[in-house]
């Protein structure tokens, strides 16, 4: 069975149909393998960027694919792309992990919220440790990188803190030492810029 020719929504529909059917192990394995080949590195990269250690990122990656299979039956292509959906699942799972750590802090290089440096995220630490080995990215991925990297730094900073750390705007305001209204405004403007640029570049479609 080769599912590689299926587009993402069709692949998710196959997984939804096969998951939990005892006689479908081999087919499900092949379908999920295809999904992993497409997005495994992306899920893993988001996870490790957020939690900062390989072992936890690998756990999260496994959890995300299990969650995706369990939720495949209710995945709706009209609401979001599969890639966006997987990134969202990853983000939520990683934020759960970060919050768990803040309740029960553990030793050894864990980046718990109290230690957050407003300018640094775990991915940067991995890079400086020489552990980063970048995967070749598609043209679309490069466009996304370019769009996000071209956001004004002060807007990018607060959006990253909100998105990757799950901080509230009150927490962000305290951390960066700016008024709450300024933080809300930067997030709003940054999100508008990002939304509009993604639409203009054809990466997202009109609502």
């Amino acid at each position: 069975m080769d599912f590689s020719a299926l587009d993402d929504p069709a692949l998710m529909a196959v997984i939804a149909r096969l998951f939990g059917r005892p006689a479908s192990d081999a087919a499900l394995n092949q379908a999920v393998s295809t999904l992993y080949d497409r997005y495994g590195y992306m899920v893993y990269s988001v996870a490790i960027h957020m939690v900062g250690d390989i072992e936890t990122a690998e756990e999260i990656t496994q959890d995300v694919f299990v969650h995706a299979c369990q939720g495949a039956v209710s995945y709706s292509p009209g609401l979001s792309k599969v890639s966006s959906w997987l990134v969202s699942i990853t983000r939520h799972r990683a934020i759960d992990e970060l919050r768990r750590r803040s309740v029960r802090p553990e030793k050894d290089g864990v980046d718990i919220p109290e230690d957050i440096n407003a300018d640094a995220l775990p991915g940067g630490q991995l890079q400086s440790a020489g552990l980063e080995h970048e995967v070749e990215t598609s043209i679309q991925d490069q466009k996304i990188h370019q769009i996000v990297n071209s956001l004004p730094p002060e807007q990018r900073q607060v959006m990253d803190l909100a998105y990757f750390k799950g901080l509230s705007h009150h927490q962000i305001a305290d951390l960066v030492g700016e008024p709450l209204g300024t933080i809300k405004s930067r997030i709003r403007l940054g999100m508008q810029k990002l939304r509009d640029a993604l639409l203009e570049q054809g990466i997202t479609g009109p609502a």
């Binding site: 939990g20 192990d25 499900l28 394995n29 999920v32 393998s33 992993y36 080949d37 495994g40 590195y41 893993y44 990269s45 988001v46 490790i48 960027h49 690998e58 990656t61 496994q62 694919f65 299990v66 299979c69 369990q70 979001s80 792309k81 890639s83 966006s84 990134v87 969202s88 983000r91 991915g123 991995l126 890079q127 980063e132 080995h133 995967v135 990215t137 991925d141 996304i144 990188h145 769009i147 990297n149 959006m159 909100a162 998105y163 799950g166 901080l167 509230s168 705007h169 962000i172 809300k184 997030i187 709003r188 940054g190 999100m191 508008q192 990002l194 939304r195 993604l198 997202t204 609502a207």
Partner: protein, 89 residues
């Protein structure tokens, strides 16, 4: 809320970082406002692209096998849970 719509709160709403009172205001407004719901839809995919822009790293070569193993186990549990669904009234 003074404005007719909640456009200004939608980006933070989509990021999930509004406080409870603001979240309630937006949710209640969205239930009754097509214009704001459409505006919200325009933001739904935006945050995930922050995630897609992180540096792409190569996972361990064994991670794929572990993912497939976990999925297989979960599928097995799913299938046995269905099998145990009560048939009697």
């Amino acid at each position: 809320m003074d404005e007719e719509h909640v456009f200004d709160l939608l980006p933070c709403f989509v990021l999930g970082i509004l406080d409870e009172s603001e979240k309630k205001i937006v949710s209640e407004h969205l239930a009754a406002c097509d214009i704001c719901r459409k505006e919200l839809e325009s933001y739904i995919e935006t945050p995930s692209h922050l995630g897609m822009a992180v540096p792409r790293l190569t996972p361990s070569a064994t991670l794929k096998a572990r993912v497939l193993c976990r999925v297989k186990d979960a599928a097995g549990e799913n299938s046995s849970m269905d099998g145990e669904s009560p048939q009697k009234p």
